[in-house]
């Protein structure tokens, strides 16, 4: 193949892209949709449920203060500390629950695997930035809140290329 034909072919291949749709996620306006409500774990079967490993969610009425999540995280990122909670829960004699420092967390989800009482799950919320380091520390009360997520963009494939539609 001659040099000239090669260069023309290369240009031609680039020009064809003018007809293709743009494959860009315009992030703050559009958000990617994930499967499910976040990564969860079923301790009876020992298998997780697929989902995004985002911010955690703590169910106060299940947490027994057993610290297994904190022990698991000690070997990973030391992000979990156990803190006192003001409310009395009958399953939680010591009234301690995990507090997670997202400045350290690596979102591995091994704490979710460690919790035997269906108390700790992960959610689809990944927008956790904060102006201060303290703002990244989520107390048990903050972890209790179910995040509001408006994620609906999915990859669509058509004859004119892939898009985030």
């Amino acid at each position: 193949m001659g040099t000239a034909t090669g260069i023309i072919k290369a240009l031609n291949s680039g020009i064809k892209h003018l007809a293709l749709k743009r494959f860009t996620l315009r992030y703050p306006e559009e958000k990617l949709k994930f499967v499910g409500d976040g990564y969860q774990f079923d301790p009876t079967t020992g298998v997780g449920i697929a989902g995004l490993k985002g911010r955690h969610m703590l169910f106060h009425d299940h947490c027994t203060g057993c610290q297994l999540c904190s022990i698991a995280c000690e070997g990973v990122a030391e992000a979990i500390g156990m803190v006192k909670v003001p409310n009395e829960w009958k399953q939680n004699k010591k009234s301690i629950m995990p507090q997670i420092d997202y400045g350290k967390c690596v979102f591995c989800g091994l704490c979710v695997d460690a919790c035997p009482f269906y108390a700790l799950y992960m959610t689809n919320d990944y927008e956790l930035s904060s102006f201060s380091k303290e703002g990244l520390i989520y107390t048990p009360a903050q972890l209790q809140v179910k995040p509001f997520v408006a994620q609906d963009s999915e990859i669509q494939i058509s004859a004119r290329g892939a898009t985030h539609g």
Partner: protein
């Protein structure tokens, strides 16, 4: 007073009229911190000394203080774009040490995840290779098309790059509903896209004249220096761990290895691209042969212990054969974990390739070795 002995490159050298010493890096000779000390005579390189070690993280030592499961998140950090493959030999080794029997479905899903990850890594590598040659289209296209596979991995594992998906005893979670269809659709489109790279990049006469016959590694040298992966296959040695020592279910899948004879930068950059098409083939085949339901993870006791034993396991990563040697001494933590990484072995070839080359060919030759600084330093 005796002069202190300084590391190479820091020592003050006597100025020579012709030879000039250039420090390329450690800030940015490519991706990650790494320095290449080159001596040039005019435009030609007369000596070259790669100097890795700037991003040493102590992964191997860290592994001695964590139990077999908690080692998973940090052992995939050396190459976050290829995190499934970096973890693979460790997981296979621990399974042998603890005597775990992995289910068939988990093995297939692991192969699919590993192949998707290999493509994600190669696309990232290709994007940087493109920008090294000043071909910014080849930066944009792979960086964009990589999103198709990252999306699949995200659906599968819940994370975009550091998946922590493989675990001794199988995988962390089963596939989401409807995954097979989405995977097939996106992998097919991905394959169609990478085939379009031929015209604009791989068969572009400008690229060919830039990279052909530069940095030639002969077959004998490739074997003698112990290179691996795409570098070895580009020099005409048909060696792929997936074929030679099949692990998990690679022996049941249908794929070829790609070999080229010329051993130059062009061949080394073309082999990973051809390998990506084989990966698409493997993924399609595995999706078809995979058992449609079944358990994916063996339940582990808390703090599992092995006996007095050691294992060595190898897998084919995006860069070549990646080995992991684990010694257990009846404790929950491994006694020793040693990673034998392909990046370091490929880097050894660099001084042999660059002597006599023009300085302008240094970036493409360096990056065609499929070298990842963080992995080499561990």
């Amino acid at each position: 007073m005796s002069t202190p002995i300084l590391p190479p490159g820091l020592a003050i050298q006597k100025a020579d009229e012709r030879i000039m010493t250039l420090n390329v890096g450690p800030q940015h000779p490519g991706s990650g911190h790494m320095r290449i000390i080159v001596q040039i005579d005019g435009d030609y390189i007369v000596a070259c000394d790669p100097d890795p070690g700037y991003v040493h993280r102590g992964e191997e030592k860290m592994a001695e203080y964590r139990n077999y499961v908690l080692n998973v998140p940090h052992l995939e950090r050396p190459v976050i774009h290829d995190s499934c493959n970096v973890l693979y030999p460790y997981v296979l080794g621990v399974e042998e040490l603890l005597g775990l029997e992995v289910t068939e479905r988990a093995k297939y899903i692991r192969v699919i995840a590993a192949e998707l990850n290999r493509c994600v890594y190669t696309m990232y590598w290709l994007a940087i290779y493109g920008i090294f040659l000043g071909h910014s289209t080849m930066f944009m296209w792979p960086a964009g098309d990589r999103e198709l596979l990252i999306d699949l991995l995200e659906k599968m594992t819940g994370a975009r790059v550091t998946h922590s998906y493989f675990i001794p005893g199988g995988i962390r979670n089963d596939l989401p509903a409807n995954f097979e269809d989405v995977c097939l659709r996106q992998v097919n489109y991905f394959e169609k896209r990478i085939k379009e790279y031929a015209d604009v990049f791989y068969e572009n006469p400008i690229l060919i004249s830039r990279t052909e016959k530069t940095g030639v590694l002969t077959r004998e040298n490739a074997i003698r220096l112990g290179t691996t992966g795409s570098v070895l296959r580009a020099s005409g040695v048909d060696y792929d761990v997936r074929k030679k020592e099949p692990y998990d279910v690679y022996d049941e899948l249908d794929f070829e290895t790609n070999v080229m004879k010329s051993g130059d930068s062009y061949a080394r950059s073309r082999i990973p691209w051809l390998d990506m098409m084989e990966s698409c083939r493997i993924i399609r085949d595995a999706l078809q042969k995979m058992p449609k339901s079944g358990s994916v993870r063996v339940k582990l006791k808390p703090n599992p212990k092995g006996g007095f034993d050691s294992v060595y396991k190898r897998v084919e990563s995006g860069r070549g054969a990646l080995g992991c040697y684990i010694v257990s001494d009846k404790k929950p933590e491994p006694y020793r974990v040693k990673l034998s990484v392909p990046s370091f072995r490929n880097l050894i070839a660099l001084p042999h390739l660059l002597i006599g080359e023009k300085l302008g060919n240094m970036p493409s030759t360096y990056w065609s070795l499929n070298y990842w600084p963080v992995e080499a330093d561990r």
